[in-house]
């Protein structure tokens, strides 16, 4: 079988812990990480940054007809989330569709993102869940 293991392995820091970059000169945060700050260019001071993972749902949709590896999950919610530091990411919300609203606060959770069938590797990473009341 063909495996995507090397491609998955390269993105483990981003997928597991939302590691991006931060330009300390203009204070802009980037996810996925960028090696060049488009604002400061040669004058940029980029550092690795681990996002908190908390954010707000900007918009969302419900998937009823999924591709082969996701058909067991239907219906599931995909959303664009604005992280508290600024960048927007696309991610799955682990909630029933009726429980998801625009403007809802979310937190990161560690979940299975996909599998290479029954024999291949398992992709783990970050999804988002509605924030608990006390958070």
């Amino acid at each position: 079988m063909t495996t995507q293991a090397p491609r998955f392995w390269r993105s483990i820091p981003q997928r597991y812990n939302l590691k991006g970059t931060h330009c300390t000169r203009c204070n802009e945060y980037f996810f996925p990480p960028r090696n060049l700050c488009p604002n400061c260019r040669r004058g940029a001071h980029l550092e690795e940054y681990t996002f908190k993972g908390t954010g707000t749902i900007v918009t969302h949709t419900t998937i009823y007809n999924a591709t082969e590896f996701f058909e067991r999950l239907t219906p599931y919610v995909l959303a664009i989330i604005q992280l508290d530091e600024g960048p927007r990411v696309t991610g799955q919300i682990v909630s029933s569709p009726e429980g998801v609203k625009i403007g809802m606060r979310v937190r990161p959770v560690f979940r299975i993102l996909g599998k290479e069938g029954d024999r291949g590797i398992i992709y783990y990473g970050t999804k988002f869940a509605p924030q608990r009341e006390q958070e």
């Binding site: 483990i12 597991y16 812990n17 681990t50 058909e71 067991r72 999950l73 682990v94 959770v109 560690f110 979940r111 299975i112 993102l113 398992i122 783990y124 999804k127 608990r132």
Partner: protein
């Protein structure tokens, strides 16, 4: 050398199914939850497995005491539902909690007591000063064949314990293990569901091993049940831990805070460790806790634990067991079958 628990964390999936809903499908009658003393059990989400549960519990343990994960020198994950037969759960946990790469890892399997075996291994490395902190995990998405008695109790959840020498929330005073070759419950390689010996899992397995380990530890330490404020025993159902506690001389009051199986079912490698966490959630400095796990096959690990002042500082740093138990969403059997992958698409 004094060593023990620096911090702890748990994770229990939010989905539940009531035992009566399962018995409705198989026609086993309404009294099954009463006879098992298990009323509902936790169910993993479609994208949860022993690894994701282990990671969430480990993250909670680090957050609770604000511990730098780069201090971890060993990660031992105990489970009987590791998603990979070859590729350690601990490697994924280490990367997910941002440990350094300078740690040793291995997966443990000893039915429901793999998590306490992981604690013992960490105690050895911490006690010899080869590592500063060890992360011991017990996590499972346990399997029970449709229609089998195991299906009424086989649940999902896990707990992680940071074992060290300094800043102890609880000291592990001593431990004692009792192990024999007793084939009461097993799963052959490649098989999806375990098999068991029915009533044979009781007297010659659970009761003999739990009693022998518990008595062995108390004899070695010169203690009696009266010396302990709380006790936790492995919880395959709601009857066994109550009966073994009574047999050993512990009261209902001593086991009550850690008896979580009626609400979440048997979380296998997580069972005893979630019970201990629920007890630490309410224990006061100076309290002593007696813990005995059980793993089929068969063996038991007994621990004597003394709670320290630092428990007050870290208690509220992460969700408690009761927080997770209170956050429940109920499924019917059809949704449960979908969650557990019992439906073939």
């Amino acid at each position: 050398m004094v060593s023990g628990i620096v911090s702890y964390g748990v994770y229990i999936p939010r989905f539940r199914i009531r035992v009566n809903e399962i018995s409705r499908v198989w026609g086993d009658g309404d009294d099954i939850s009463e006879s098992l003393q298990v009323f509902e059990k936790s169910v993993p989400d479609l994208d949860e497995d022993a690894v994701t549960i282990a990671v969430e519990a480990a993250r909670n343990s680090l957050q609770r005491a604000n511990v730098d994960p780069r201090r971890i020198g060993a990660i031992y994950a105990g489970s009987e539902s590791h998603p990979y037969a070859v590729k350690p759960t601990g490697t994924i946990v280490g990367q997910a909690v941002c440990s350094s790469s300078s740690f040793t890892a291995a997966d443990f399997e000893f039915a429901c007591k793999a998590g306490t075996a992981a604690i013992q291994a960490c105690l050895g490395l911490v006690g010899s000063k080869d590592i500063e902190l060890g992360l011991a995990i017990g996590a499972d998405v346990s399997q029970g064949a449709p229609g089998d008695m195991l299906e009424y109790t086989a649940a999902a959840g896990g707990a992680a314990y940071l074992i060290g020498r300094e800043d102890l929330a609880a000291e592990i005073e001593s431990f004692y293990s009792f192990t024999t070759d007793t084939p009461d419950f097993w799963r052959r390689d490649g098989m999806p569901y375990p098999e068991h010996g029915g009533r044979f899992t009781g007297e010659p397995a659970y009761f003999k091993h739990v009693s022998s380990a518990a008595r062995g530890l108390m004899e070695r330490m010169g203690t009696t049940p009266d010396d302990y404020d709380y006790a936790v025993f492995h919880q395959p159902n709601g009857k066994f831990p109550v009966r073994v506690a009574k047999k050993l001389g512990f009261s209902k009051r001593q086991i009550e805070p850690g008896l979580v199986v009626p609400m979440i079912g048997n979380t296998y490698s997580g069972s005893c460790l979630i019970g201990l966490a629920a007890t630490l959630d309410i224990a006061e400095p100076g309290d002593r806790i007696f813990v005995t796990s059980f793993g089929s096959g068969a063996g038991s690990d007994a621990f004597s634990i003394s709670v320290k002042d630092r428990i007050e500082d870290i208690r509220c740093g992460a969700p408690s067991v009761r927080d997770y138990i209170g956050d429940a969403q109920y499924l019917d059997y059809a949704m449960y079958a979908k969650h557990k992958g019992k439906l073939r698409i």
